[in-house]
């Protein structure tokens, strides 16, 4: 197991290098001078030159990359040209609402998706299966902006049950209010993931239900309920958790859309604003941090899988 962890950590290095290099090149291969682009049309040449030097753009590209990496390794994400404070602080403040929203989204997707997927698998080919499979097809075809707008139209405009936008901190407004504001964005963000989770769960459970070891266990006198709870669930867990883990990442990455619709001050909105203002330092930092989170999440999941499935450790 230790050996496996070590190998996995080692394999992370090239991935992280590629990620950082991609993000770095993305910004620095922009046609024209980033400094000029950031300052806009009304800037004087002196202002541009000053920013140019401040950003280290005079140096050759490889050297710039090394300097950037050096700062990153010390945990310094840089400073925003447009916003107050370091990028670290800005990110920290904006990460909270996004994480809360993502948590609601993933919880919704998993709590609805996993049971539905299982029911569909157990009732393969029957009406329940067809209904659930159809629902999951609708789910995977409902991007978050559609779902978000639809939910607002129904629950806020028509029924007037839930607020149409805004964000309330738990510390200030309490849990109940916080959740009232988080429910619609969470569902909107998680809906497409729910569709995916239904599909994956269904196919994972189906595959296991017809596995030879299930027949073998039945021939030993194991009851149906135990068969499902002990053998089927444990074997299906890997497939299900993989897709749930993936959904966490795509929710984090896709939060920009729901944060725009529901006006939530999260990293998605931050990124968009930074993109509009050409605040490259912030764009770089967000993309980097979210990718890093993704990589860490995948690693934790894989280690967990290695714990339940002895075969993985050997690969």
């Amino acid at each position: 197991m230790l050996n496996y962890i070590f190998r996995r950590l080692l394999a992370l290095i090239p991935v992280l290098l590629i990620v950082s290099l991609t993000i770095f090149l993305l910004i620095h291969l922009v046609p024209g001078d980033p400094a000029a682009a950031m300052l806009g049309e009304n800037a004087t040449q002196e202002q541009i030159d000053a920013l140019h030097t401040a950003m280290g753009l005079d140096l050759p590209l490889p050297l710039q990359y090394l300097r950037w990496m050096g700062r990153l390794l010390r945990g310094d994400l840089g400073t925003s040209y447009f916003m107050k404070g370091t990028v670290n602080e800005i990110l920290r403040d904006h990460m909270v609402p996004t994480l809360q929203q993502t948590a609601v989204a993933v919880a919704f997707a998993a709590l609805v998706g996993v049971p539905l997927g299982m029911i569909a698998a157990v009732h393969r080919g029957r009406a329940a299966d067809r209904l659930i499979s159809g629902f999951s097809t609708v789910g995977v075809s409902m991007p978050s902006f559609l779902m978000g707008l639809g939910l607002v139209l129904l629950f806020s405009v028509k029924l007037r049950l839930l607020p149409s936008s805004g964000y309330k901190e738990i510390a200030v407004a309490g849990w109940r209010t916080h959740m009232r504001y988080m429910l619609l964005p969470g569902i909107a963000l998680g809906f497409i993931e729910m569709g995916l989770i239904i599909r994956m769960t269904r196919s994972a459970v189906l595959e296991i239900l017809s596995a030879d070891y299930m027949r073998m266990a039945r021939s030993k006198g194991v009851s149906r309920v135990r068969l499902f709870l002990k053998h089927a669930l444990k074997n299906a867990l890997i497939g299900i958790l993989t897709v749930v883990g993936l959904s966490f990442i795509s929710c984090l990455g896709g939060a920009a859309v729901t944060e725009t619709i529901f006006n939530i001050p999260g990293i998605g909105k931050l990124t968009l604003n930074a993109v509009m203002r050409r605040d490259y330092e912030v764009v770089q930092a967000v993309v980097l941090v979210v990718s890093l989170l993704n990589v860490v999440c995948t690693l934790i999941l894989d280690l967990f899988f290695a714990m339940i499935d002895p075969r993985i450790r050997l690969q």
Partner: protein, 297 residues
């Protein structure tokens, strides 16, 4: 020597016949699969609407009419209503279909071509494989929406840049899918036999491996088609995709969001169009997958 060439010719003839038979079988299965046919029809109709938009659209999608701002559906000859500048919503949705279909087709095709080339050569050359797969790992570590937004930030918003950005996002996935498929084909005995008879790597890759992975590649391409329609609409919705005034389902919806309490038609119609297009493609892709890979169901 004589014998060898004979064997080789015969071998590839048999392979070709098998492939042809398989295709005929697949075609029959396709038309028996009602789902797939339905999906294909939806996509076909969308494509037709997009191509024929200039003929079908009742008005110029950019023509403004201050008098008819937010005309309700059916009012003043606006079948689906009008937007804040009095532009005809139906015409804008039809022209929006052009954007979606252009983006979907271009990204689907480009990811298919480049991803397949990468996958095929990766499966054949181990060093290349390592390098390409590391790059793909790195690129897919960045969540797709975020990568697309960042790319658009750098490239600037235009429909061509949307296509470029989404291709960069979807090519790594396609490369993985085709590499995995190619690896299983490559391990089959007849490829080994061809190699032992000295067939060139180009012939093996394009003559024998490529036709066999085509089915997985096409299925993935259809999903990429659907996903790029979604992502294009999302980017345009966020204001970093297709720039106004050119209509795209995403930017129509974005304008609709501002008037969600008063002009429901600005959300419902373009939303329905997006959902229908995506669902049609997804259903088509699922049908295709069931047909080409019966094992998966």
């Amino acid at each position: 020597m004589q014998q060898e060439t004979f064997d080789r010719r015969q071998l590839s003839r048999v392979r070709r016949e098998l492939l042809r038979e398989q295709r005929a079988l697949n075609a029959r299965r396709f038309f028996r699969n009602r789902q797939a046919v339905f999906g294909a029809l939806v996509v076909l109709v969308m494509l037709l609407l997009a191509v024929l938009a200039p003929v079908l659209a009742p008005a110029d999608p950019l023509a403004q009419s201050v008098a008819n701002r937010f005309a309700k559906p059916g009012e003043a000859g606006y079948l689906l209503g009008a937007d804040k500048l009095g532009r005809d919503l139906l015409s804008r949705i039809l022209y929006g279909a052009r954007v979606s279909m252009t983006v979907g087709l271009s990204v689907g095709l480009s990811s298919m071509v480049f991803g397949m080339i990468m996958g095929l050569y990766a499966c054949y050359y181990p060093t290349l494989d390592k390098i390409l797969m590391r790059i793909c790992d790195g690129l897919s570590a960045i969540p797709s929406t975020l990568l697309a937004i960042a790319l658009m930030a750098v490239l600037g918003s235009s429909i061509y840049n949307v296509i470029t950005a989404l291709s960069i996002v979807y090519i790594p996935r396609m490369a993985r899918v085709s590499r995995a498929a190619a690896l299983t084909v490559k391990e089959q005995t007849y490829i080994e036999a061809l190699r032992s008879q000295g067939a060139s790597s180009f012939r093996i890759i394009w003559g024998h491996i490529a036709p066999n992975i085509l089915s997985s590649v096409v299925v993935q391409a259809s999903y990429n088609f659907a996903n790029s329609i979604i992502t294009e609409a999302a980017l345009s919705f966020l204001g970093v995709g297709v720039p106004a005034p050119q209509p795209s389902w995403g930017n129509i919806l974005s304008e609709g969001r501002e008037v969600i309490t008063t002009a429901w038609w600005m959300i419902v119609y373009p939303g329905a169009a997006t959902a229908l297009a995506v669902m049609g493609t997804n259903i088509f892709g699922d049908g295709l997958r069931d047909i080409l890979d019966p094992h998966s169901n």
